[in-house]
């Protein structure tokens, strides 16, 4: 929570933490970074297992588990029968008995059959047993839309999990974060819902995955669970966002800059725990805020952010905290999704409504 106030720009973050980033030597996609994080975690700890539907020979429908079975064997990365409650319930038992299961739900809406296991056990077992049984489970969910998927393949389901006490809920938005946050999630003694924005799977950054591994293994990667990051520094208003909406918010900030408005963008990364400090520090400074998220707005994570910010920064606010979210409708079909998704225009419209004096 500390580095962000002093280090508004994401690029300087690791440097601030004492890590001298090497000159980037290669590029990696978000998907490949996740794959590397899984492989490195499995290499580091034989208790880490990966299972789900089609994650074995196929390498997952998004190829995030590509090569893991070949490398670690069928006992460490394997396909299950087609049953999500089964996958989740078996993960609970495995975690009870010394393993660190990472499970893949094939698409967001296909995690719903496991909802009872997640809410009634994954989230509650540690509390029920007064901490005797910890459940170090990572639930990987290819998440949200923007990929032209058919119905049930583009849900933004974070609110269901964020509302459930006991779960850690993460959503990386950059290739670096994808790597570090998945490593951190797997290392966490608590259950983590790990939301992977589908539309970012093929996004690229200049990173050297071997370098990231060394940084992580040397304990040099600053903690990301519970830590938001200022993705772009600004002074006039704050965009608070996460996951798939981060690039859109950054694009909006860039567009606003051309119009002479300095917009700060906060990438939450960690929805639960929530980094009040970083968010409030920014809003108190800028006095204006817009929350951007893809899920339907009603009773959502975006609602929570608005509520917290106005509770905590009320007297710094020059205007109400606004939201740009998905509409309160089922996620649309491919040809209509662009009308639904938060867009640069819609974000700029909201920023314009922040009751500027001039």
């Amino acid at each position: 929570m500390t580095q962000t106030t002093e280090a508004p720009a994401r690029a300087t973050q690791d440097r601030q933490a004492g890590v001298v980033p090497p000159a980037p030597r290669s590029t990696s996609t978000f998907a490949k970074a996740l794959n590397a994080a899984l492989a490195d975690a499995m290499e580091a700890d034989s208790a880490v297992l990966m299972f789900g539907e089609d994650v074995g020979r196929l390498g997952g429908v998004f190829r995030i588990t590509d090569g893991l079975t070949a490398r670690f064997g069928e006992e460490r990365c394997f396909d299950t029968p087609l049953a999500e409650a089964g996958i989740m319930g078996m993960a609970v038992g495995m975690a009870m008995n010394g393993m660190k299961p990472v499970v893949e739900m094939q698409f967001d809406a296909f995690a719903y059959p496991a909802f009872e296991q997640v809410v009634s056990h994954v989230a509650k077992m540690p509390n029920r047993t007064r901490g005797k049984v910890r459940l170090p489970i990572v639930i990987r969910i290819p998440y949200a839309g923007g990929i032209g998927g058919v119905e049930h393949h583009c849900d933004s389901s974070e609110a269901y999990y964020a509302h459930t006490p006991g779960l850690t809920v993460l959503a990386p938005a950059t290739v670096r974060d994808a790597y570090f946050m998945l490593r951190e999630a797997i290392a966490s003694p608590d259950p983590v819902v790990f939301l992977e924005p589908k539309k970012l799977y093929w996004s690229k950054e200049e990173v050297d995955l071997a370098e990231l591994r060394r940084t992580y293994d040397d304990g040099q990667a600053p903690r990301r669970i519970g830590r938001a990051v200022v993705a772009r520094a600004g002074t006039d208003a704050t965009l608070i966002t996460y996951g798939p909406s981060v690039p859109t918010a950054l694009a909006a900030a860039a567009a606003a800059a051309e119009e002479g408005r300095s917009i700060e963008v906060i990438d939450l990364r960690s929805i639960v725990p929530f980094d009040d400090e970083t968010v409030c520090e920014s809003v108190r400074r800028t006095g204006r805020a817009v929350v951007v998220a893809e899920a339907p707005g009603f009773a959502s994570v975006a609602s929570e952010i608005v509520a917290r910010v106005q509770e905590r920064c009320f007297h710094s606010l020059a205007a109400p905290v606004l939201r740009v979210t998905g509409f309160d409708i089922p996620y649309p079909s491919p040809k209509l999704e662009h009308f639904y998704l938060p867009s640069v225009d819609r974000i700029l419209d909201a920023v314009d409504q922040l009751q500027w004096e001039d």
Binding site: Y112, L200, P247, F327, S333, F339
Partner: protein, 403 residues
């Protein structure tokens, strides 16, 4: 205890006495081998319990088979040409598709999966309406009530419960409706499969559960899905009869499904039928099947093709002539052309519709949101123009498998 095989032994490895299986049990267990009436070489094979449909009937239905294959080929081509986002093909499974549709009467209901496009079209639904979903225009394209065909939503096995509900409602009103509910081998692992079969049996409702066991659930082979003697062996656990049938034998499918439908209509309750078939193509065009099965595996199923054997049988009996074949393929081509033409015509999608059907009457929240979008569009905003993400287009080959 033993690591010995269980063959012929009681549960704990002790040999079972003969005759421990009661007649009642045997009535619910499937036959030892899948029912077959016409073998891959096109020859009739006798079965005591299931009569061979007559030649006229087989010829009539064979035409639907030819059309079904043509529809699969055409849809695949349209995906390659970018006219459709994705197509889960039933190539190789057309006998199941066609049989599932033609054994039903008008008052019956069909509950298909996403792969059962050919079944839905065979039942009479307009192909272009069916393809609306895969084209990306809307989440469904046909009125389920028009031909009594449920939507092709993707959450696996969930529709089996809807089928039970439709049948239950019909039964309560004393209507003669039978419901045929389809699913894949993979879907049998879901809890909803279990609950649907149990509800159907307990409420004794007229549902025929029809599993197309095509040996794969995307990349996962049947052997990783179950170690049961067969999927049809699940029926006895619900107290309903199970049967297995050669899923590439149109005649056997018509006979076995037809008799299950008759039985359900006569108040005999639900049953479970497993058809052994094979998914000849990838899961969808977005899938890369070479990662998990060899060309050789697929090759073995080519001689068992459902069209081939029916054609041989009908030609051998002179029921099918050169002329007849031409007529059939002309008809198939006509339908394919209509699909082609329809899909090459861009359809207008209206964003205002997004808010229309969520509730019968828009909530005040949705009225506001619809108004917001209307204003944006009136101002000329083009939301599509500024997507800052790194999203691939719909149907990106690397996206993996949808639906």
């Amino acid at each position: 205890m033993s690591t010995a095989t269980n063959e012929g032994r009681g549960m704990m490895g002790v040999p079972a006495e003969d005759g421990t299986t009661s007649a009642a049990d045997r009535a619910l267990l499937p036959s030892a081998r899948p029912v077959q009436l016409i073998d891959p070489a096109g020859r009739h094979t006798h079965d005591d319990r299931y009569p061979l449909p007559d030649g006229e009937r087989l010829l009539g239905v064979y035409g639907r088979l030819v059309t079904g294959r043509r529809i699969n080929d055409q849809a695949n081509a349209l995906v390659r040409q970018g006219r459709m986002a994705v197509y889960p093909s039933s190539h190789g499974q057309e006998a199941c598709q066609v049989a599932a549709a033609v054994v039903l009467d008008e008052e019956d209901w069909l509950f298909p999966t996403y792969r059962d496009t050919v079944a839905v079209i065979t039942r009479g639904v307009d192909p272009l309406e069916v393809l609306t979903l895969l084209r990306g225009d809307w989440h469904g394209g046909y009125d389920p009530y028009e031909h009594r065909v449920a939507t092709q939503a993707t959450p696996l096995a969930t529709q089996l419960l809807h089928a039970v509900g439709v049948a239950h409602a019909a039964k309560l009103r004393g209507e003669p409706t039978v419901v045929l509910a389809m699913c894949g081998d993979g879907a049998t692992s879901e809890g909803d499969f279990h609950e649907a079969l149990n509800f159907a049996a307990v409420f004794h409702v007229p549902v025929v559960f029809f599993i197309q066991n095509n040996e794969f659930a995307i990349s996962v082979p049947l052997s990783s899905q179950t170690v049961a003697p067969s999927l049809a062996h699940k029926a006895i656990g619900y107290g309903m009869p199970g049967e297995r049938v050669d899923g590439n034998d149109l005649a056997a499918l018509l006979s076995v499904l037809g008799s299950a439908v008759d039985r359900a209509r006569d108040g005999g309750g639900p049953s479970l039928i497993e058809a052994h078939t094979y998914r000849m193509q990838a899961h969808t065009n977005a899938d890369d099947a070479t990662r998990y099965r060899s060309a050789d595996d697929v090759e073995q199923w080519v001689p068992r093709d459902p069209l081939l054997r029916m054609r041989t049988y009908l030609r051998d009996l002179n029921l099918l002539t050169d002329d007849g074949e031409r007529t059939l393929s002309d008809e198939a081509e006509r339908i394919a052309a209509a699909i082609r033409q329809g899909l090459n015509t861009e359809v207008d999608v209206n964003p205002a519709e997004l808010f229309e059907y969520v509730y019968t009457e828009k909530t005040s929240q949705l009225r506001e949101q619809a108004e917001q979008l209307r204003e944006e569009l009136a101002r000329g905003a083009d939301p599509a123009a500024d997507d800052a993400g790194d999203a691939p287009g719909a149907g990106d080959q690397a996206t993996g498998d949808r639906p």
